[in-house]
Symmetry: C2
Subunit: 321 residues, 2 copies
């Protein structure tokens, strides 16, 4: 649940004066998302989402995100569309933060995804990769293997608080991934955070994707590895191969993985698990006193990482060949 | 910010099947309110608020609240309207809680109310009192003077944690109010919680009132005393008599206080301050570890109470006669 920044009525009114979306009728903070402050706006022009960009979002990256959402929509991906103000800008400043208004997207995210939904996500991810292929901008993935060392060092001395022995586990895994991390895989635009709360369903169909604020240029199969982590484990951290199979089948029905990607999938899945383990760990160890947002439990990804450490073949995730 | 209860997609779909408001398109938790869980619903029939009633709301009282909102709307008070399901019921059960759907009310609450808004609130409060006069149901005020003793005893031994000497201050004030509390004042339906976040403004006018879940039958002037506490102090807990004057003028432009009410206003204001001080204190001392809702600071009402303790005449609040 996230509203980090309070916006005064005067600031909001002045900000909206710059847009041609009618007068303000209502503005309510939304109790979702953990990175930014989100508000549901009702104006004479309809319903919109107002986002104030908080931690981890670099204002310099916002033109990339905004441009990507516009590009993807033109390629048929249903995602929020930035609303441009009277000056033609999709980005402004509100309450000292970069801020944007995007269209309101109907749909519900699935709190307990089933295999059918995993299949639809696999398809949607492959379509996203295809749609991004001709996007002109690029953005390095700050949270790929080069970024994990600094995260590890930020958490190393206190990681024992979460689990005795965790620093050793992390150091070993990090060293191994730094050695084994694949290069030369097909690259392109990846979402990089396509968790269940970023995928909307409506009437039994996948209806839209949101939250492109980790999107970047990286190995396409790494995005799939992130989704296997985010969608195909049960609450007890056991891997559900039926879901994995559905997701991989869905993905490959649109874009077939090449041999190098298939071979790399286990190490990509380990890397994805380590990435979310490290960011959660840092958030957990640095949660402010009295914070209104409960940091996500890093232990979930310790368990997922241990699963991946046993995997040697993409068939263990459900790949059927 | 409040979403205490997570609702599964299946439960929500089953609940909405009972209503004739179209298919579910979106459901987002709202980061406002501290007593109940609120969600913004978008359905084929429009936008609605779904409320799950949590702590402090007794399910047996809900027919009173629902009936009151319907009655007030018929009398011209703009407030959320309960939506009845196919069985004609305005109340159902969802995720193990009593739940209701009400219409979505446009408008923005004022984070920094000015004197003009205080005047409009005074008027709206008097109109609410008039509109409630012929409401057939009644409900005792569980948080009036009889309820403060148990609250005090629940907080007594640990109140020192908030402020050294606070137990003595509270015991003295409680004894005095139990002795001085007025009886025989004009009674009727009061809102009992008309704080700024429960009053919406739109286009410079007061557009609606929400959150009737403390409404009850009590002295009308006590409701005004609550509003003086809630609206007419500055952030540093100094009383702004210009705002008090605007509020009292506004109220009396619709309903003139009688002599007994004028005489009782200082003690009613002390009582109102003690009531919010005690409930905030209990919430503060019992805030759960890792709670996502920050309890309101009881010290704000210690300072307000101290102001009221110096007041001997309603003119000190801005009454102009």
């Amino acid at each position: 649940m996230a509203v980090y920044t309070e916006v005064s009525d005067e600031e909001l009114a002045a900000f909206l004066d710059g847009y041609d979306i009618g007068g303000l009728l209502s503005c309510k903070g939304i109790a979702e998302g953990v990175e930014n402050s989100n508000f549901l706006l009702h104006t004479g022009g309809g319903y919109f989402i107002l986002t104030l960009y908080e931690k981890r979002v670099d204002a310099n990256d916002l033109p990339f995100f905004i441009g990507l959402m516009e590009h993807l929509a033109r390629r048929g991906v249903n995602c929020p569309q930035p609303v441009r103000n009277r000056a033609g800008e999709a980005l402004g400043e509100l309450a000292g933060r970069p801020a944007a208004i995007v269209t309101f997207l109907d749909g519900m995210w699935s709190k307990r995804p089933d295999a059918r939904q995993c299949g639809m996500v696999g398809q949607a991810l492959a379509r996203l990769h295809a749609a991004g292929a001709d996007f002109a901008m690029s953005r390095a993935n700050a949270l790929s293997v080069e970024g994990w060392g600094p995260l590890f060092r930020a958490a190393e001395t206190r990681a024992d608080e979460v689990l005795p022995g965790l620093p050793v586990l992390l150091a070993g895994e990090l060293a191994r991934l730094q050695h084994d991390w694949p290069t030369g895989l097909p690259r392109g635009i990846i979402h990089a955070d396509l968790f269940p709360d970023n995928v909307f369903f409506l009437g039994g169909k996948l209806s839209g994707l949101i939250d492109f604020y980790f999107a970047c240029t990286d190995a396409l199969a790494y995005d799939l590895a992130i989704c296997l982590n985010a969608w195909c484990f049960e609450a007890d951290a056991s891997f559900n191969i039926t879901k994995g199979m559905a997701m991989l089948d869905g993905y490959e029905s649109i874009r077939r993985l090449d041999d190098a990607e298939v071979a790399a999938l286990p190490v990509l899945a380990r890397g994805a698990a380590l990435r979310f383990l490290l960011t959660r760990l840092v958030d957990w160890l640095n949660r402010p006193e009295g914070a209104l947002v409960r940091p996500k439990d890093p232990m979930e990804y310790v368990k997922k990482l241990r699963f991946h450490q046993q995997v040697t073949d993409a068939r263990d995730y459900g790949l059927r060949r």
